[in-house]
Every structure is written in C-alpha cells, then in structure tokens.
Subunit: 361 residues, 2 copies
C-alpha cells in the first residue's frame, strides 16, 4: 500500500533526500565516518554547515546584512528569545491569528520589562482570516510587529506582508518557509522550526537583520542572538545531523529549479484540493478564501461522526495523519514541499468516492 503522510510536522521529506542520507549514513563521502560522528569543528562538517547556509541564502535571496543562525529549541524557544533579545524596556506588537500567534503572545507577556500589545486579531471570526494591518496601527517606537505568516492549525496565511513603516516585522514562518513569495527584506527577523519544510525536528532557523542583534548581553549565551551570530551557530555543539539533512533538502530545492518552481508546485497541489472542496457538496473549508494556506488545508463535513468515518476509512487507505488538530477536529491535509502531487490526486479521488457513498443525494 502506498502511504501518504499528511503530518503537520515532523513531516514528509523528499524521497531523494532520504535515499542520499541512507547511502551516506555509515560512510560520508569516503570519510569512513557518519555525519553524526563528526566533530562540529572538523573541516568536513564546516563544509556542510557553510554549504547549508549558502544554499539557503540563494534559495530565499537573503541579503548580506542578514545573519543565518542554526539553533535549537524550536519556535517555542524563539517565542521567549525574541522579546528577551529585542524588546526589553520596549513595546512589542503582536497580531493574533490563532493558536501559534497566541503562544507567541503568551510567551512575550512572561518576559519582564516587555510591554506587549495585540494590535489586531481575527478571533472574532474564529481565526478564519488574517486581519488587515495598516501603518497607522503601528507605534513607530515599538521594537517590532510579530506576525505568524501561516497558522498550522487554523490553515490561514498572509498573502502579502503588510507595510508597517520602519518598525521591523518579526515572523514565525515555521509552517510556510520555502513555500511563499515573501521577500526577506520585508522582515527584520524570520524564524522557523525545521520539521516542516527544512528537515528533521531539533533544528531552528533564524534569519536576523544585523542591526537587530542585541547590543547588551543576554543572561545565557545560548539565548543570545549576538553570541550565536558571532560564533556562526557554533557557540556550542549544534544539531549537526539535522543541519546535514537540511543541506540535502536545500540541494533538492535547487535541483528542482529553486523557490519559484517549488511555490508553483505548491500552488498546483493546493489548488487541486481546494477545487475539490469547493466543488463538493459534502466537504467545506472553514477558512476565508482570501487567506487560504498553501501548506495546511483543514476541511470538514460539518458532521463530527462523518468526519470520524472519513478519517478511519482514509487511514485504512494509507492516508496517514489526516485527522485535524485535536483543538479543531475534522481533517487537515498538510501539503509541504516534499508532499507528492499524486498523493493529493489520490486524496481528491478518495474524497469523491466517499462523497458518493456518504453525501446527500
């Protein structure tokens, strides 16, 4: 049985990447060592981390005045590190678009000396849209405006990045990094857990404009962006194997034709599923059409029992991890870069069959 893995993260990785990792696992390029066994100070690993950074810079078009950091702790640690580094003694502005934005807001509020203000929210419509942000809503003295470019659970995403004046935008891009047309120069700081579009869990990518690096040291060097940047992410031992896999994923993107080609494919895959939902009399997308995510697509029948039946039958057909997040129910298809188009086609066919068998006549 062909298995299609719709997991929201850790998620499907490109098959050629896994096959290359497998071939090299015991003996990396004739070194007689696994990448896992290499000193992080060795020239072999130095090549890997430098190449990973170089490729990511090419793919995303990261300007020279941004640092790329390979850290640990996931977006959840960034929720605390960012206000700690950027906003103590200042105001930090947040946009509330759902579950992950809320976590970022809550973590910022817990940092002493940071004044958190939520300047916009889509809670009034159960987080089914992205609120409009205009420059006049933004205190120009604030440390930053924090947005969540894609809500993994809610399934909404920013189609364009708002103009907020000179205040830097800080973005949790965990679930749609490398799956969007944003420009890095529209952000002051971008962060993302790797386990969706980059590689294995345990690696967090931070892209930070150099002028935003903290001038005052943070109490812990591990939580200090300036220390991590000054040490090229080697202040201590980084997650070396996850960085290696990320490098393979970046190579795979480049071989396919770069970000433009990847996003085109993501759009085609998402359109297949959204079109099927829109054409259906059974399945509904809970999300405002103008803010639909390319990467996380929730849908429901409106009947919890029927959702459950769908999930059970889908699982039996090899559609794994389609069940919606426990907080919202229904179904959710996460279509990250490595998810194959055939998987979407087969899901759509299965949905039609299910609707024929279970929908209203």
């Amino acid at each position: 049985m062909t298995v299609y893995n719709f997991s929201a993260g850790p998620a499907v990785l490109p098959k050629p990447v896994l096959e290359k990792a497998q071939a090299e696992l015991v003996n990396y390029q004739g070194s007689e060592m696994s990448v896992m066994e290499m000193s992080h100070r060795s020239s072999l690993f130095d090549n890997i981390i430098k190449e990973a950074e170089k490729l990511l810079r090419e793919i995303m078009g990261i300007p020279d005045n941004y640092k790329v950091l390979f850290l640990q702790g996931g977006a959840s640690l960034q929720f605390s590190m960012i206000p700690l580094n950027l906003a103590v003694g200042k105001k930090a502005l947040y946009v509330n678009t759902g579950a992950w934005a809320k976590k970022a807001i809550s973590a910022a509020k817990a940092i002493d000396g940071v004044e958190v203000e939520v300047i916009a929210s889509s809670e009034d419509k159960n987080f089914t849209y992205v609120p409009e942000i205009t420059k006049d809503m933004v205190d120009q003295e604030a440390a930053y405006v924090h947005i969540t470019t894609n809500e993994t659970i809610g399934g909404i995403s920013y189609q364009t990045i708002p103009d907020v004046g000179d205040v830097p935008i800080v973005a949790d891009m965990s679930s749609n990094i490398l799956a969007n047309n944003y420009k890095v120069e529209d952000f002051g700081l971008i962060y993302a857990g790797a386990q969706k579009n980059i590689g294995p869990s345990g690696l967090t990518v931070v892209i930070i404009r150099e002028d935003l690096l903290n001038k005052e040291p943070i109490f812990s060097p591990m939580l200090d962006f300036a220390v991590q940047a000054a040490n090229d992410s080697l202040y201590n031992t980084p997650p070396t194997y996850a960085i290696y896999i990320a490098k393979l994923v970046f190579e795979w993107i480049q071989e396919l034709g770069g970000l433009q080609e990847i996003v085109k494919r993501d759009q085609e895959k998402a359109a297949l599923l959204y079109d099927a939902i829109d054409a259906s009399n059974l399945f509904i997308s809970p999300v405002d059409k103008n803010y639909r995510s390319l990467t996380n697509i929730p849908f429901v029948t409106g009947d919890e029992e029927l959702d459950k039946k769908f999930n059970q039958e889908a699982l039996a057909q090899g559609f794994q991890n389609l069940k919606g997040h426990r907080s919202v129910g229904g179904m959710r298809a996460s279509l990250y870069n490595a998810f194959p188009k055939e998987g979407v086609e087969e899901l759509v066919a299965f949905m039609k069959k299910f609707e024929d068998e279970n929908g209203e006549k």
Copy 2:
C-alpha cells in the same frame, strides 16, 4: 585505510547502530516512513521515546522518583536552566575542576538572584586533579553542589561521588555518562549532551529527582523543568531522530551485557593506553593518576614540535581527531563506549613506533 575517530564529541557511534539506522532510514519497520518524517504525537514515535526512556532507566538503574527528560540546547543551556530552576533566591555551590566547570560557574553567576560560591578548585595545579569535597565545606542550606564528573578537556574524573549531606549534587555528566559506576541516587540532577556516549548532537538528557522540580513557573516553558516533565518531553516537538538513535545505542548497550560490561571494556581500553603512556620515555600524562578519566585521555611529549609531528603522522595513518584541545595542545584520545579496542591497540603500536623513531636513545 581503517579510520579511528578519537573525536571528543560528536563522536564515534556503534557500527551496528549506524547500520540499523541505515537499513531503516527510508522505511521504518514497514511504515513506509522515515523516523524523521513521523509526527511526534504518533503512536510509532511514542513507542520509540517510551522505549528509549525505559532502556535508559534499566541501564542506569534510575529510581522511580526521578524524571528522565529529552531536551535540546546541550549542556550549555543546562548551565543556565539549572540555576534558573533550582537556585533563584538561594546559594548554589560549585566545584571548579576545569574548562567545563568554569562555564557552568560563569553561567550561574549571570542568573539574577543566585548566589554562586565556588567551594573547591583544582586550579592551583592546572586542573590535573579533583579536589576533595567534605560535608563540612557544604552549606546545608544551599540549593545544590554542582560538579563536572568528567572534564572532557582536562581529562580528569571523579572516581567516587562525595558525601555532601542532604544538599543535592547536580552533575554535568556529558562526557562520562554510561561510562562510570556512579549510582543515580547519589545525585539530585544529572545532565548530559548526547553527542559523546548517547547519540547525535542536538539531544540533551536530564535526569531529575522529582522533589527538585520547580514549584514556581519559569518565564519560558521551554526552560522550565516542571513543564517539560509534566509533558513527558513533548511540550513542543522534540529532536525525534536523535531520540531514535539514542534508543538504538541503549539497545546496543543492553545487548552487550549492560553497563557493567561496558564499563569493564572502557577500563580495559583506557588501561591499554595509560599503561603505554606510563611505560613510555616519550609520552607523559599530565593528569594525577588518582583522577584519570576513562573517556578522555590527554598526553604530551613535552615538546610542542614533536607533538605536532606526532599529530601529523597519526592523522596520515587514519587516527582522526587526536589533536588536543586548542586550549591545552598535545594529544587527546577520547575513548567513548563505541570506540573499538583495536583502535587503542593500533594507537599504542603507533606510539611505540613513533617513540623508537623520535624518542631519546
């Protein structure tokens, strides 16, 4: 050419572990998924993390009143987390035995509200021994006594754990965890970066006695032992692949006969090298014989040029990462659990040959 990897970490892993990981990399146990692609909330991964914990408990004899946490950030993040969680408003006692102890001390001093006191140091003899700690040196009101059970750079280790009364001992065991005869119940908290005796970098194991879990929340859930313990290390996405490799390493230890057998082998390997050094007229161990490390063995000729020549010729023979840490020079052989005995035998033979060619006649 056979390559022997003497790296201090990330370090050599057991060949059978790497081969099993390789065989399963693309398709784990018929799931058609890599472990890297699995949701951390899936039953497949749940089995892996639970089994890893169970095995570690068996191997180390961890009592039921201790929590086992699989975290991120390395020992370096623990240097800050431990005083933050255990010692705010209290006194924290430290023993200074070298480079890593110093880092722990420095990080603790940076935490507001923690009174750091260094109760003993071996700095007077350039950290070549472990100072004696007696109960009367220990303020019984202190939050803990912090020790570094093995100094990776200096090459000294605690042969026995001191009796400090009722004050819990907190130990950085990064470089000799699973390579000692200590009893877990002699510690309040043990922590270790995985990249020496456990698995790949990016995973940190913390073993904490339940009564030491913080009662007051820490500003960041990711830095909060009680939150991590309450969530069984799944507060956010853990480093899933590193945990899987750790599980394979624990299985390998059990298959070899458990910790007792592993330590016996470590002792034999270390004795081979120490005996060769002691019998040599060229090579010297800088360390007091009573505190020699089993896992990190530095040695020198006393002549920097000759050390350099040795390192160059050794590297040409496939002895990788033998060069001593930049802060101390000379040579260092890290003989972790996965390092093969034949590698030590070949090193010893090479040292004899080098001495014949270069030593005083």
